[in-house]
C-alpha cells in the first residue's frame, strides 16, 4: 500500500526538502530538529549542507589573494561545487527513496549571485540541472535580527558573507547589513515564483518547528518508512 510514488517535481521516489533563508535565520537549527523527528518516525533521511568543498574553498582563497574573482567566476565556481554535491550526495539518496533535507539549495545561489549583479535568468539556467524541491521553506527574518544573532554568537563575519568584495561599505558590520538586505529583498522577490512556504522565523524555536511538522504531514501521508520498504513485496 505504501508504494514509492515518484515525485511530481523530479520523478524520483525520494522527496527533496529545502531550507532557505539568511544566515542567522534559524534554518539550520530547524532542519536538524526536523531531521531528528523524521528519523524517529522511521523515515529514511539524508541530510546535506551548503558547505564548500576543498576544491572550491582553496580556489576561492587563491582567487581572493590574487584579486582574480569576479561575480561570474564566483558564481560558476559555486555552481561547480553545487553540481558536485548534487551529483554525488543529493541525487543518489533521492533516487534511492530518501527524504533528502537540504540546508540551503540552488536558491542560495539565485539570491547571492543576483546580489552580486549576475543576470538572474542566466544563473537559473546554470542551475537547471537541480530539480524543483518537493517543499522549500523560507525562513524570513529582519536583517537586524540576524545581525544581532551573529554578533551574540561572537562568530567572525566572513568576508564574502558580508559582501565585502562588492565594496558596499568600509566596515564589515555595515557591509554585512547592506549585503544581507539585498539578499533578503531577493529572497522575498523569488518567494512566490519558487513557491516557498514562508516561515515567520522570529518566533520561538518550538513554535516554528511545530509549524514545519504540521506543514509536512500531507507530503508524508503516503510516504513509506524504512520498515514499510523492508516488508514490501
Amino acid at each position: 500500500m505504501n508504494a514509492e510514488r515518484p515525485s511530481p517535481f523530479h520523478g524520483y521516489p525520494g522527496r527533496l526538502l529545502v531550507f532557505e533563508g539568511l544566515d542567522g535565520s534559524g534554518k539550520s537549527t530547524q532542519a536538524a530538529l526536523l531531521g531528528k523527528w523524521l528519523s524517529a518516525q522511521g523515515y529514511r533521511v539524508f541530510f546535506t549542507e551548503w558547505n564548500s568543498s576543498d576544491l572550491v574553498s582553496s580556489v576561492i582563497r587563491r582567487g581572493k589573494k590574487k584579486g582574480l574573482l569576479t561575480p561570474t567566476t564566483f558564481s560558476l565556481l559555486h555552481a561547480t561545487d553545487f553540481a558536485d554535491r548534487f551529483e554525488r550526495k543529493i541525487l543518489p539518496p533521492l533516487r534511492a527513496g530518501y527524504l533528502v533535507v537540504c540546508d540551503r539549495y540552488a536558491h542560495t545561489a539565485f539570491v547571492r549571485d543576483a546580489a552580486r549583479g549576475c543576470d538572474p535568468d542566466w544563473v537559473r539556467t546554470i542551475y537547471s540541472f537541480a530539480p524543483r524541491p518537493d517543499r522549500a521553506f523560507y525562513f524570513r527574518v529582519p536583517v537586524s535580527v540576524t545581525l544581532r544573532r551573529k554578533l551574540a554568537s561572537r562568530l567572525k563575519i566572513n568576508y564574502y558573507e558580508a559582501g565585502m568584495d562588492l565594496g558596499l561599505a568600509d566596515s564589515v558590520e555595515e557591509s554585512y547589513e547592506r549585503f544581507q538586505s539585498r539578499l533578503k529583498r531577493e529572497y522575498d522577490r523569488i518567494a512566490e515564483v519558487d513557491r516557498f512556504a514562508v516561515v515567520d522565523a522570529i518566533r520561538p524555536v518550538e513554535a516554528v518547528q511545530a509549524e514545519l511538522r504540521a506543514n509536512l504531514q500531507p507530503l508524508l501521508a503516503n510516504f513509506p518508512t524504512g520498515a514499510d520498504l523492508m516488508h514490501d513485496g
Binding site: 576544491l55 582553496s58 580556489v59 587563491r62 582567487g63 590574487k66 582574480l68 574573482l69 569576479t70 561575480p71 561570474t72 567566476t73 560558476l76 565556481l77 555552481a79 561547480t80 553540481a83 558536485d84 548534487f86 551529483e87 554525488r88 552580486r116 549583479g117 549576475c118 543576470d119 535568468d121 542566466w122 539556467t125 546554470i126 537547471s128 540541472f129
Partner: protein
C-alpha cells in the same frame, strides 16, 4: 572589435568597442591547431601586431583543479562542464578582455565551442551549453580546422605514440576498446561542431592537408580583419616544395 556577447553579458563588461581583435582557431586534437596558432602568431607579430595567445585550461584560478580532477576521474559530467566554464570565464575576464581593451590581438587556441561540444556529448543539452557560455565574446573570426578522423588518429599516434584517454572519450564508456572509442567519440564531437558551424559562423578550413597550405588559407581569412587585401589564392598550384625535394631543386638550379 565590438564588445558583443552571444547571450547575457558579464556584469561589469565594457560597453562599446574594444581596440583589439579576437581570432579563434578551433578543431579537434590533431587537426593542426597548435601549429597554426604558432604560425599565425608569428606572422601577425612580424606585421607589427601585439598578440596574446590563450587556450583552454590555462587560468591561474582553476587549471590545477582541472588537472587533478582529470587524474582522479571522479567528477560528474555537470561538475566537470562547470569547472571548465570557470576556467574559461576567468581567462575571458582577466586576460582576454584586458588584452583586447589594450588593442592587442587575442589568438585563442580553442574557445567555447570545444567546451560546448564536450559538455553536450556528455549529456548536457545544446540549449544548456549555449546559455552557459552566453557571456562569451563573439570573435572577429572563428577558423575551424576540419580533418578526417583517420588523419586525427595518425597524428595522435605520431605525436603521443598512443591515444589519449580523454581525447578518446573513454570516460563515456562508448567502448572498452580505446581505438574504437576514439572513432565513436570524434564522430559525436563532429556532429556537434556541425550545427555550431552555421550558428557561430565558423570558417571551415580543410585540415587534411599540410600545415603550409592550411596557414595560407588562414592568412587569407585573417587579412581583411586588418584592412589588408587577402593574398591571391593559388589556383591549381602544386604544394610548395619542401624538404629534400626543395633542397635538390635549389642545388640543381
Amino acid at each position: 572589435m565590438t564588445a558583443r556577447t552571444y547571450g547575457t553579458g558579464l556584469p561589469g563588461m565594457p560597453q562599446g568597442t574594444l581596440g583589439g581583435k579576437l581570432i579563434v582557431i578551433e578543431g579537434a586534437d590533431g587537426s593542426g591547431r597548435t601549429t597554426e596558432v604558432a604560425l599565425l602568431k608569428d606572422a601577425l607579430e612580424v606585421e607589427g601586431h601585439a598578440v596574446v595567445d590563450t587556450g583552454l585550461r590555462r587560468s591561474d584560478l582553476v587549471s590545477a583543479e582541472i588537472d587533478r580532477a582529470k587524474q582522479g576521474h571522479t567528477l560528474g559530467a555537470t561538475t566537470m562542464a562547470l569547472l571548465y566554464a570557470v576556467d574559461f570565464a576567468d581567462q575571458l575576464e582577466n586576460k582576454m578582455i584586458p588584452a583586447l581593451a589594450a588593442g592587442s590581438t587575442v589568438l585563442a587556441d580553442r574557445y567555447i565551442y570545444t567546451l560546448m561540444a564536450r559538455a553536450i556529448v556528455r549529456g548536457a543539452s545544446r540549449e544548456y551549453a549555449r546559455e552557459l557560455y552566453g557571456f562569451a565574446l563573439q570573435p572577429d573570426l572563428v577558423v575551424f580546422l576540419d580533418a578526417r578522423p583517420e588523419i586525427l588518429l595518425h597524428r595522435a599516434i605520431g605525436k603521443y605514440g598512443s591515444l589519449d584517454f580523454w581525447e578518446s572519450g573513454m570516460d563515456l564508456s562508448l567502448s572498452r576498446d580505446l581505438f574504437e572509442s576514439f572513432f565513436l567519440y570524434q564522430a559525436r564531437l563532429s556532429r556537434e561542431f556541425d550545427w555550431m558551424r552555421e550558428e557561430y559562423a565558423f570558417h571551415r578550413v580543410d585540415a587534411n592537408r599540410g600545415p603550409e597550405l592550411v596557414h595560407e588559407e588562414v592568412r587569407r581569412l585573417v587579412a581583411p580583419l586588418y584592412g589588408m587585401k587577402p593574398p591571391p589564392r593559388p589556383v591549381g598550384r602544386e604544394p610548395r616544395p619542401t624538404g629534400d625535394r626543395a633542397r635538390r631543386r635549389a642545388a640543381s638550379s
